[in-house]
């Protein structure tokens, strides 16, 4: 759970921007990145996000962990496109009797998709790093995401921490008694671990419901109301989106 960053709690320049603004701007920029043909705009977005991430002092370790997987996937996409699609052959080799051909146009396509991945992921990561969970939730409800979904998100968020601690302890207890000493053993131990979590989840949900009912729960969670948006916030974000739009159009 260490990658589950606690960064949003820190006070920084983006923490004062309303979550609704951050979410809407992120979605707009994401749409631009996805619909762009070429490398320039996604890479530009990546740079801006990286600078902002540094600006809000994200710890480098957390940062790299967050990007390790998308980078790997971007790489795989390049390889698939390079080796499997395209007409314009660059080279061809014959190791172990297979013919492997690299394509120039495939490579270009692959690079474009990867730049999209990195640009989009950087926007998403910045949003995650700069916005506390609860604010994000009320921003989602402002976007008309149904209440039921948001309530489930809130329950899930809190219990991820409780249950992952339990999971770790069970895992260690099993390891302690050689539960992972062979693949077969490991598999059955893992099933037991997951099953125990499900049992715990069920029992705690009953207790939690009781605790909530006695504090007046009648089937829906009350959400804190949001403050009105500040004009400056809105104007600045509009300005930012317009600038990005112009760059997108270039």
């Amino acid at each position: 759970m260490e990658v589950f960053s606690e960064h949003p709690k820190n006070d920084h320049l983006l923490s004062r921007v309303d979550a609704r603004v951050k979410l809407s701007v992120s979605l707009l920029v994401l749409a631009m990145v996805l619909s762009y043909k070429g490398l320039a705009f996604p890479l530009f977005t990546l740079c801006i996000s990286l600078v902002l991430c540094m600006g809000i002092k994200v710890r480098p370790k957390v940062f790299f962990l967050r990007f390790s997987e998308p980078v790997l996937i971007a790489f795989v996409v390049i390889m698939i496109k390079f080796l499997f699609s395209g007409q314009d052959a660059m080279f061809s080799i014959n190791p172990w009797g297979m013919t492997i051909t690299g394509h120039k146009d495939g490579l270009m396509d692959g690079l474009q998709i990867s730049s999209r991945i990195l640009g989009a992921v950087s926007v998403l990561a910045l949003l995650g790093f700069s916005t506390p969970f609860t604010e994000l939730m009320s921003a989602l409800s402002w976007l008309r995401i149904p209440r039921g979904l948001i309530e489930i998100l809130m329950f899930a968020y809190r219990y991820i921490f409780v249950l992952s601690e339990d999971a770790l302890v069970i895992y260690n207890a099993q390891k302690n008694r050689l539960g992972y000493s062979s693949i077969r053993r490991g598999l059955s131990s893992f099933g037991v671990l997951a099953g125990s979590l499900a049992i715990k989840a069920f029992d705690s949900s009953q207790n939690t419901a009781t605790a909530m009912i006695q504090r007046g729960y009648d089937g829906s969670l009350p959400l804190l109301k949001q403050r009105p948006l500040r004009l400056a916030e809105v104007l600045f974000s509009l300005f930012f989106v317009v600038i990005m739009g112009i760059i997108w159009n270039l």
């Binding site: 609860t134 809130m154 207790n207 605790a211």
Partner: protein, 283 residues
């Protein structure tokens, strides 16, 4: 005024769906402003009794009256405006992401406006010494801190009666005393009526007004702490013991025939009693 009965409990029997008879022969009442304790070994029925008193388990033989009306006939809203229960495990009770939101949950459900909610939450946090942590995430708190937030969550609702299930279990010695101090303050200063379940024999006599001993689902003894803690053997029968201080003085009195007049339960009393005996001997 002080002797108004808030809760009057008479349970002839209660059986869990799987057939475990968890309660049999319980009869006591809780007066306004009282600080009462339920003492008993593991499995003696403390948690079950508190749940019954909170109206969570309804399928019992007998009657539980809250301010004179049958708790089974009251709506849950009516019960929970007056009575709050704090669970043994804080993780079952805390569900919101941050401290503030969790404590605000009750007042929001009671229909208070945003602004008034703040004015209920902050004093409650102050009462449990956690005002600095309003915006902390719950999962970053220590065990003892979580227990405090549970209590704050009920305080903010202004309950007149609090039922607490082992509020001191799992806390270190200093945490135990602080928790009991907090409860005593609530009881003395705010007039909150408190019933707590515990098996912490040494702590109880320092703080509680009344004590009931549960064993195998029935109350075998009740009264002020001095009446309840008398003989080690009787306590051993219900898998409990005297407080260590009382145990020592008891042995000195009964086995070594030292002329103690009574068996004190607290360090302060014991000290006075020993000094008295020493003085007598000197004279």
């Amino acid at each position: 005024m002080e002797s108004v009965t808030r809760l009057s409990v008479r349970i002839d029997s209660f059986t869990y769906p799987d057939g475990t008879m968890a309660m049999s022969g319980v009869d006591f009442s809780v007066k306004k402003g009282e600080f009462a304790g339920l003492l008993g070994s593991n499995g003696s029925g403390k948690t079950t009794l508190l749940r019954l008193m909170d109206g969570l388990l309804k399928d019992f033989r007998g009657s539980i009256l809250l301010d004179g009306s049958d708790i089974r006939k009251l709506s849950s809203r009516e019960i929970y405006r007056k009575v709050g229960l704090v669970f043994q495990n804080p993780d079952d009770q805390l569900f919101a992401p941050t401290v503030f939101e969790d404590v605000a949950f009750g007042p929001l459900n009671m229909g208070f406006a945003e602004k008034d909610v703040r004015e209920l939450v902050l004093p409650a946090l102050r009462d449990v010494d956690m005002e600095g942590s309003a915006n902390k995430a719950i999962h970053n708190l220590s065990f003892g801190q979580k227990k405090r937030i549970c209590i704050a969550g009920l305080l903010a609702m202004g309950h007149e009666i609090l039922l607490l299930d082992e509020p001191t279990a799992g806390l270190d010695p200093m945490g135990e005393y602080k928790m009991m101090d907090l409860l005593t303050k609530l009881n003395r200063d705010k007039g909150v009526t408190i019933v707590m379940a515990t098996h912490s024999v040494d702590l109880v006599p320092l703080f509680l007004d009344r004590l009931y001993i549960l064993s195998k689902g029935s109350i075998v003894r009740g009264g002020v702490p001095e009446e309840v803690f008398t003989a080690p053997l009787e306590m051993a029968q219900v898998k409990l013991r005297l407080p260590h201080i009382a145990e020592m003085i008891y042995r000195l009195k009964h086995e070594d025939k030292v002329s103690f007049k009574k068996v004190p339960l607290t360090i302060g009393e014991a000290r006075r009693e020993i000094l008295r005996v020493l003085g007598e001997n000197n004279a």
